[in-house]
């Protein structure tokens, strides 16, 4: 086991595309680090540079205390799990597992023991004599995991290992992955574009965008204190609601509403009071809304008319329009582009009268129906404030003071 340190790592492809831009990241010994971001953000490239499958254009990568920039993948003592499993089709499951050990000259009894242990851990014992073609997707995925485990490497690198599985299997594999990491305690770097995977698996999560590091923190901190509009919009589902608002000493006003800003919010966000009288971008998480009938009495209230309700059983997502245009910041636009998978033309629904659609997550006992008016309560302590120019969170400890 070892820590992995990336120091100002660049990746510039032929043709000048900068896939990874001055990425510095310290992955601690035994940590489960998730790299997350929209497609094309450079997360896979970063992982492949750690693995040695891509040349490093600038900066250094070290595993343990060793700088590995010029080491071949086989000499880096890492194991990788690929999105498409990449099993050796002409070998049995047993040979697939043992291959890496045989190449390293591990004694035969030791190989046998390790393969047996891994097979037991992953429930692969009945399939050891089969070839990959005779396995289901989930089983192949477990063989790929096993191939990494038997090596007992310094670190596991995983490139979207669950994205080819169906939804149900993905959830159970996610739990197994968590258990495995608990048990083995091996440093793991895990790439995914699925923010639920990132939140549930990671000790810490690193959000990347256009090859640049946005924020590294624990999942809860990312959710509670995103460093900028991009992270705020990317983490959390449904994503955070944004609006351009005017901040005053006694509250924040937007779209005909005025919400009080508690005094302790000004205290915990140094610099926020400097924005009084100016425009800011306000962010409210859907989970910080509640049907007024079920909310705490001290929450601020607003009246809205629901457009659509999504009843999920345990809660209801209420989608409503507010009387303000959607926020057009480069960060929010980037998120919208990612949501439509890069096709700029196809934004989900043409917006009515250029009004922003917000989502509120309310208690399943709420009687809200589409088209009805609803009194919503807002937890004003959890509001997020962003600078309209830079998109940075105001008063966040990681952002420079204005």
């Amino acid at each position: 086991m070892a820590q992995i340190v990336l120091q100002d790592v660049d990746k510039i492809y032929a043709g000048g595309v900068k896939a990874v831009d001055a990425l510095s990241l310290e992955i601690r010994d035994g940590e489960f680090m998730v790299l997350v971001g929209p497609s094309g953000c450079g997360k896979s490239t970063a992982l492949r540079m750690i693995a040695g499958l891509e040349d490093i254009s600038g900066g250094t990568v070290s595993i343990g205390e060793r700088v590995v920039n010029d080491l071949a993948p086989k000499d880096r003592d890492i194991a990788m799990v690929f999105q498409n499993y990449a099993l050796y089709p002409h070998m049995t499951v047993e040979d697939n597992l043992a291959f890496g050990l045989k190449l390293r000259g591990t004694p035969k009894p030791e190989i046998k023991k390790r393969v047996a242990d891994a097979a037991k851990m992953l429930g692969l014992e009945p399939y050891l004599k089969r070839k990959p073609a005779a396995l289901s997707g989930g089983q192949r995925q477990r063989v790929a995991m096993g191939r990494a485990i038997v090596r007992e490497p310094q670190a596991f690198l995983m490139d979207e290992p669950l994205s080819n599985l169906d939804a149900k299997l993905r959830v159970s594999m996610r739990a197994s992955l968590n258990q495995l990491h608990e048990r083995l305690g091996v440093t793991t770097v895990y790439v995914t574009h699925d923010q639920v995977e990132a939140m549930t698996l990671g000790d810490r999560v690193c959000v990347l965008r256009d090859g640049k590091l946005q924020q590294v923190d624990t999942p809860q901190r990312l959710f509670d204190a995103p460093v900028n509009l991009f992270v705020a919009g990317f983490i959390g589902s449904p994503s955070m609601n944004f609006v351009t608002a005017k901040l005053e000493r006694d509250g924040v006003s937007f779209a005909g509403f005025k919400l009080p800003v508690p005094a302790d919010v000004f205290e915990t966000k140094p610099g926020l009071s400097g924005y009084a009288g100016k425009e800011i971008i306000l962010g409210i998480r859907p989970s910080d809304f509640e049907d007024a009938a079920h909310a705490k009495p001290d929450w601020a209230l607003i009246d809205v008319t629901s457009t659509v309700t999504e009843e999920l059983g345990s809660e209801i997502n209420v989608i409503f329009a507010i009387d303000a245009p959607p926020v057009e910041h480069k960060d929010t636009l980037a998120l919208a582009k990612d949501a439509t998978e890069g096709e700029e033309e196809e934004t989900a629904i043409p917006l009515l009268d250029n009004k922003a659609l917000w989502t509120a997550r309310v208690n399943a006992r709420s009687r809200v129906r589409p088209g009805q008016s609803l009194e919503l309560a807002i937890d004003t302590h959890s509001m997020h404030f962003f600078d309209p120019e830079s998109g940075l969170a105001i008063g966040h400890p990681d952002t420079p003071r204005v």
């Binding site: 086989k74 498409n84 990449a86 050796y88 002409h90 190449l103 990959p132």
Partner: protein
């Protein structure tokens, strides 16, 4: 899709008769194109099979029967002596062994060098990659006849005339272009991540190639190996030029030709057909053994 499959049984259970009728209707309307293609295939099969059978049958006929009144008839009585004559008098047995040896060696080297070159050209980016690939491919457009005279000169200068080393080298050289062209295309279809997994597991480039990529390319290798075996087995012009001086080293094609050429009008036709049969059978056996391997896709299960 799911709603579709749910609906059909519900509709069918109500009216079994209409279901049967619908199926009957489908059988009444055969696809005319499918029928045509089957006629064409049957015709083609006849074109290939009839001469083969005729060759085998003629090997068992008496001398007069082949050139006599009814060449298409079955043998009056079955003679086996033509095979004996071909084997011992015309030395077909010796030539068969010679050819098997030369073709085995040259096919081995063709496959080894061809697949190695193809792998590098298909998988690695480097300056000149395209040029080298095109150089190989242009070799396919080069007619053997044009090169015969200079080729003879070169081989002679190298002191390899009338030697198997010379012949094998020339065979390999002529077989490489198509082998590289075919295998490069094949390697491009194989998943790159499997090679990357091998690199991480501890393989260098050489081991990745021989332990992982080559086994994965088995269907392609076998197809092109059959192609090369047939091509080199049937080669007549090159051994005629390169082995002319040493009749004991001849290839089987030269032996067969010799039977018909040497005796002129008094040719031993049954022995010629017997020799031809002996030449054909090994190729068919090679094909039968390996063609099963082609069909089994080997990348199945490697990736999602």
């Amino acid at each position: 899709m799911t709603s579709h499959t749910d609906l059909i049984p519900a509709a069918a259970s109500g009216s079994n008769a209409s279901h049967g009728a619908r199926r009957g209707k489908r059988r009444d309307k055969p696809n005319p194109l499918l029928g045509l293609s089957h006629v064409a295939l049957a015709f083609w099969a006849l074109l290939v099979v009839v001469p083969l059978i005729w060759t085998f049958l003629d090997a068992f006929k008496g001398a007069g029967e082949i050139t006599g009144g009814n060449p298409w008839a079955l043998p009056h009585s079955w003679h086996f002596d033509a095979f004996t004559r071909a084997w011992s008098k015309a030395h077909i047995g010796q030539y068969l062994l010679n050819t098997a040896f030369v073709v085995a060696v040259s096919t081995f080297f063709t496959m080894l060098l061809g697949s190695m070159a193809a792998y590098v050209l298909a998988r690695f980016q480097f300056v000149g990659n395209r040029f080298i690939y095109l150089l190989f491919v242009s070799g396919m457009t080069f007619p053997v006849f044009l090169a015969l005279v200079p080729l003879f000169g070169v081989v002679k200068q190298l002191g390899m005339l009338n030697s198997y080393v010379g012949l094998v080298l020339v065979y390999v050289a002529y077989s490489l272009p198509f082998t590289v062209f075919f295998m490069a295309a094949f390697f491009k279809t194989l998943p790159t991540t499997v090679a990357e997994a091998a690199m991480i597991d501890g393989c260098g480039h050489t081991r990745t190639f021989f332990r992982i990529m080559l086994p994965m390319a088995k269907p392609g290798l076998i197809s092109i190996a059959i192609f090369n075996v047939i091509g080199q087995w049937n080669q007549y012009l090159l051994p005629l030029v390169l082995l002319a001086g040493k009749p004991d080293k001849w290839m089987i094609t030269q032996g067969v030709a010799n039977i018909s050429v040497s005796a002129g009008a008094d040719s031993d036709w049954p022995a010629l057909f017997a020799a031809l049969s002996i030449a054909i059978i090994p190729v068919i056996i090679v094909y039968i053994i390996f063609q099963r391997q082609i069909q089994s896709g080997l990348t199945a299960g490697a990736v999602k």
